[in-house]
Symmetry: C2
Subunit: 268 residues, 2 copies
């Protein structure tokens, strides 16, 4: 994946969206990942560091190496992690498929929202497996846009979300990868594979998630592909606008919103 | 709802399916429902007692009254609960919309897979609310067939599941009711409404669920409407057979299967 191929782009709003997402979902996704003191951890595809701050916070005595292919993202990640006061993270530009590390160098590998963007995620997993020591663990967290639904649900809202799935597929990714984590990890040769779903359910009794997840994470992510979806002729403007309005409708007090992330942990 | 309108029918295979479902899902759905000693609990729509045995087991010192509109189902429920050794459940034929009990008679009300079959579930909730005392709780558990997806996923499999949704809708029910529990309970005038999703995630590391849920609960339920779906012209035979085969394909070692139930607890 080259820098320009990242489906969500590199805009300031995108950076805010990722930070919002990370804050709201941190507990759900990261609470059970804590690496032991002294262990050497590789984070692949750290982006702007939205997840790195939580990874670092949960493993304060591990040594973390976070790599990304984008120099601009790495600069943001460095600033974000420094601002959070973490001193145990080292950043490095690297391609996941050609990691500049010796075989078996790391005790643990961590990937969050990375496999969804790879044309061959099983090959990506095999590439990172090379730098993982025997007995070490790999943790991968991914979403699955096919897990989304809301109330009231409309065909236009579903069609609008489907645009994001199709655009990501055209860029060689898979927005439905969450449900595939188990077979992917198995296919890549990992053992003791355990996958657990992390469902986000939002109703009016959970106002922090209405803003932090439904509006500022999920709908914002869909809205981010508007121009490309229209330009590609995947949807007409009226259907798009109706779909987005219908999604916001589901964030009102009598609406609900559902989405599921998947977390896989496996051993080399 | 009259007896003949129950979407899943009253066959022996259906009774086995419900028992399989209940055993596999009991912990997920019922573990956090335990009524205090001496409390009077109404179960509405107990059917053949598939859930009643777990309700009774988790509240061994409560007094449970289980009602259903079908005399044949009540006979099965009686036998099932007696076989499980429970002596604290009383059965009675009754229509949920015209319950033969005084206002505020019960400390708690419990409904499992009942609201999905009602043309006006909010009216159903108001009807059972009448017999609940102030401060008592109502617990409702429902599925949501729109929450289903699998890997590999195919359009034919989705179309086949959609037949069940459409047939249930034609019978006046709503197979997508899980996501509506929160607004329904709120609309019916309940307070302190809390809804939690209960997701069933199945992969090869969970063989008990592959049989107990994916095959014998979910696919069996879909297969149950085959003749009606074909007769109603909702789908052609070839698409149906492909869809069912694709669903079984997702139960193989490299497949996954997802479904979400919703449990709501609210106070009068």
């Amino acid at each position: 994946m080259t820098e320009t191929q990242y489906v969500h782009g590199y805009s300031a709003r995108e950076a805010d969206r990722l930070a919002d997402q990370a804050n709201t979902l941190a507990e759900l996704l990261h609470h059970d990942t804590a690496y032991p003191p002294g262990s050497l951890v590789l984070e692949c595809g750290c982006g702007a560091g939205a997840q790195t701050v939580f990874l670092a916070a949960h493993s304060p005595e591990a040594r973390i190496v976070s790599v990304d292919i984008s120099a601009a993202s790495l600069a943001q990640a460095r600033a974000r992690v420094a601002a959070a006061g973490h001193r145990h993270v080292e950043f490095r530009a690297a391609n996941l498929f050609d990691l500049p590390f010796a075989d078996g160098r790391f005790d643990h590998v961590f990937l969050c929202f990375v496999l969804e963007h790879l044309a061959d995620p099983a090959a990506g997993l095999r590439a990172v497996k090379r730098v993982l020591r025997r007995g070490g663990t790999l943790t991968a967290i991914e979403g699955d846009h096919g897990s989304w639904y809301c109330h009231p649900q409309t065909p236009e809202a579903a069609r609008t979300v489907q645009c994001l799935v199709e655009i990501q597929a055209r860029m060689g990714g898979d927005a439905l990868i969450g449900r595939r984590l188990y077979p992917l990890l198995t296919e890549a040769g990992f053992g003791d594979v355990r996958v657990s779903p992390r469902m986000v359910y939002v109703d009016d009794s959970r106002p922090r998630l209405v803003g932090g997840f439904s509006k500022n994470t999920f709908i914002a992510m869909v809205e981010g592909v508007r121009d490309r979806a229209l330009a590609a002729g995947l949807i007409d403007r009226r259907t798009w606008d109706t779909g987005i309005a219908d999604m916001y409708r589901a964030t009102e007090p009598d609406g609900t919103f559902c989405y599921t992330f998947f977390k896989g942990v496996a051993a080399r």
